[in-house]
Amino acid sequence: MSSCARKGAAGHGKTAHIAIDPVTRIEGHLKAEVTVEGGKVVDAKLSGGMYRGFETILRGRDPRDSSQIVQRICGVCPTAHATASVMAQDAAMGTKVTTNGRITRNLILGANYLQSHILHFYHLAAQDFVQGPDSAPFVPRYKNSDLLTDRNKGLAAINAAAVDQYVEALDVRQICHEMVAMFGGKMPHAQGLVAGGASEIPTKDRILEYAARFDKVKEFVLNKYLPVVYTVGSQYKDLFAVGQGHRACIAYGVFPLNDEMTKFMMKPGVYYGGKDHELDPSKIHEDVKYSWFDDSTTGLHYSKGQTKVSPHKEGAYSFVKAPRYNGVACEVGPLARMWIENPPLSPIGQKALKEHFGLDAKNFRDLGEDAAFSLMGRHVARAEETWYMLSFVESWLKEVKPGEETYVKPEIPASGEGTGFTEAPRGALLHFLKIEDSKIDNYQVVSATLWNCNPRDDKGQRGPVEEALIGIPVPDIENPVNVARLIRAFDP
């Protein structure tokens, strides 16, 4: 069986074209095409294969309906879409959320962060490193998969433990969903995030129930997730040296710590050209030259965004638009947030980095740009962010006031507009809402997938994941394991 759709000859010094379609264990439909020369990727194209048209479906509806509809963009991070949407509605309708409403929203989104990061590592990415049982859906797999035990026979016990953790993590992520449901009604697709705040006023009992579940999740993160990421990382040191991409990233700020929305658990910012920049949303534009959208809509600021699909456009190769910040292709996600916030590393992380890499690291940036912006660096960032979140969730549990109002009834204005900026677990997310005649006149979503998985922009510049694929080793073109490994490290 040939491993992939390939054209061209294999072998040393020759050029081979490999297509992986579908890229599995991600949310959505994605195809990766790479050109391999001398055992390394020299060119890459990412193609998003699905268009549903939420923007056109939302037009003309009651503005409050948007938070329910947009959750259905993604079943893994619906709470993030709901959060961005209710923030956009609050801004457009001029609603001021109460302190308890803000904290309850943090508890809802926070529980889904925990869920999403755990699901990502164990159920989406782990099979890139760990050998699962010999039964569908864990087989078939690549013949030569470069798994933990292929690299180090002595790690059979660790491999087995990781498989057990895969099953345990199923329960833990389910517990996280129970935490979301406590204040959010149900998961996936929570009812409780609404314009004006949150529909559930936390009671003492519910806070205790949430806290009891949180303790179990915390224990798992501390004792299993974080250590296993470093154990795997120590066996794949080479994967800390690849996948750097543009070394540019953006974050909008998430988990507001005050009602003025000026302090966040993870702060907003932009990093490129080796420098930090303050976030200026007026610099966000979307190009569509290589996307199946009408050329007349290219280069627009998101608030002027238009969605005119053109599925047969010559030269285009994706349904994903190409957002740029000041013309720069920025990656988003845990790495972006951790790089911009630069919080302390966990004691487990500090110890492991010293032991396996001889690195004296206290804060995230001490990893250095090369290791942080890498295939493995993105997994470390996600695990460290999960650890960093734990104490914040604990503090929100102390801050939330049982019985205190979480909701302010919004008034739909005749006209208005607003943007909701937040961060999905997988990266920066904004929703823009424009109201006319008390109905939705324009709705634009710039999601994390758009930031990471975009095709070339009008200047021909590669998207972040496309760029990060350059230099990825593919020693055996029948088994191009590193290609999707790199893509999945982003949580696309």
Binding site: M1, C4, A5, A19, I20, D21, P22, V23, T24, R25, G28, H29, K31, G49, M50, R52, G53, T56, I57, L58, D62, R64, D65, Q68, I69, R72, C74, G75, V76, P78, H123, Q127, P133, S135, P137, F138, V139, P140, V167, L170, D171, Q174, E178, V180, M182, G184, G185, K186, P188, H189, Q191, G192, V194, G197, S199, I201, P311, E405, K409, A484
Partner: protein, 318 residues
């Protein structure tokens, strides 16, 4: 053993979430159903069309039985884009091979709707034999070979959000697609956006058991008898939310809540669509019995064929 609606209700519903479902996972039942169709665990091919993967994520929340048991003991999940190890063209070719090998003896689970405009171009699901395969292509090829199709979630069952007004993709339900293409494979709709994990697991197990007892055609016939006129199993979708709602006395006394966060009073005043919705959420609840939409906010009628257009505005009184 012949399966009556009463047995099914007994098995699938319980006041505690999942209780009834877990009874179906008694070892003897597991043993009875393994071996259905082809002497081993029945292969399941899971396609994702225009959807959000929320149905798959919901299924991961299955409590009793644990999703691990479903995957390792009950079915053989040979293709699922979000969980399988395999990827790319060989994974697609593996899927087509299983469909040929087990012709008439595998289940096709469909999540998401089928966008037919522009020759299916709005949903490309992969490549096989050096050719791009759209959701439309995959359905045409696989559905006629399947023993039965499970249309999971409101997208697959009725079109759902991708088919709502304003959509340009020609997204349609499995049933509508079959009518257009003249495909006669039986379809069971399990709507909900997303469906409750018990609704999915319960239906699968009961179908397998009926097939085991009666043979394929007669067994599926038994299952079809349990469906309402919207193609959904009545044990899960046979009762109205409003008729069973704890707020019904408030409704009858015209005692309405004033805001979304207020817990007293019927929630119709803030948009509840319970009177439009047929499902057992009121007793099953969600996420291991933690909560449900009406208790938390409002029902938005996500299990109904006219969701979302016929159920919106979600926050306006009926």
């Amino acid at each position: 053993m012949s399966l009556s609606r009463r047995d099914f209700v007994k098995m699938c519903t319980g006041t505690v979430a999942g209780m009834g479902i877990s009874q179906m996972f008694h070892p003897s039942v597991c043993e009875a159903i393994s071996g259905t169709l082809n002497g081993s665990r029945p292969p399941v091919l899971w396609l994702q069309g225009s959807g959000c993967t929320g149905c798959s994520v919901s299924l991961l929340n299955a409590v009793n039985p644990h999703i691990k048991q479903v995957l390792l003991d009950v079915i053989s999940l040979e293709f699922h884009p979000t969980v399988m190890a395999w990827e790319g063209e060989p994974a697609m070719e593996h899927m087509f091979k299983i469909a040929d090998e087990y012709k008439g003896g595998f289940f096709l689970a469909v999540e998401g709707s089928i966008p037919v405009a522009e020759d299916g171009k709005f949903c490309v699901i992969g490549e096989a034999h050096h050719k791009e395969i759209t959701m439309v292509d995959a359905m045409k090829e696989l559905a006629p070979k399947a023993a039965a199709v499970l249309a999971l979630g409101t997208c697959a069952a009725y079109g759902g959000i991708p088919a709502a007004e304003g959509s340009e993709t020609g997204a349609m339900s499995v049933k509508a697609f079959f009518e257009q293409e003249g495909i006669s494979t039986p379809v069971v709709n399990i709507p909900g956006c997303p469906p409750h994990p018990d609704w999915i697991v319960g239906t699968v197990v009961v179908a397998l058991e009926a097939i085991k007892t009666h043979g394929l055609a007669a067994g599926l016939g038994e299952v079809v008898k349990l469906l309402d006129d919207q193609g959904r199993p009545t044990p899960f979708f046979g009762e109205n939310i409003h008729d069973n709602c704890p707020y019904l006395p408030d409704f009858e006394a015209d005692k309405m809540c004033e805001t979304l966060s207020q817990k007293d009073g019927c929630r119709m005043s803030v948009g509840c669509k319970g009177p439009n919705a047929m499902a057992d959420c009121f007793k099953r609840k969600w996420n291991n019995g933690i909560n449900w939409c009406v208790q938390n906010a409002v029902c938005i009628g996500c299990v109904e064929p006219d969701f979302p257009d016929g159920q919106s505005p979600f926050y306006e009184s009926l």
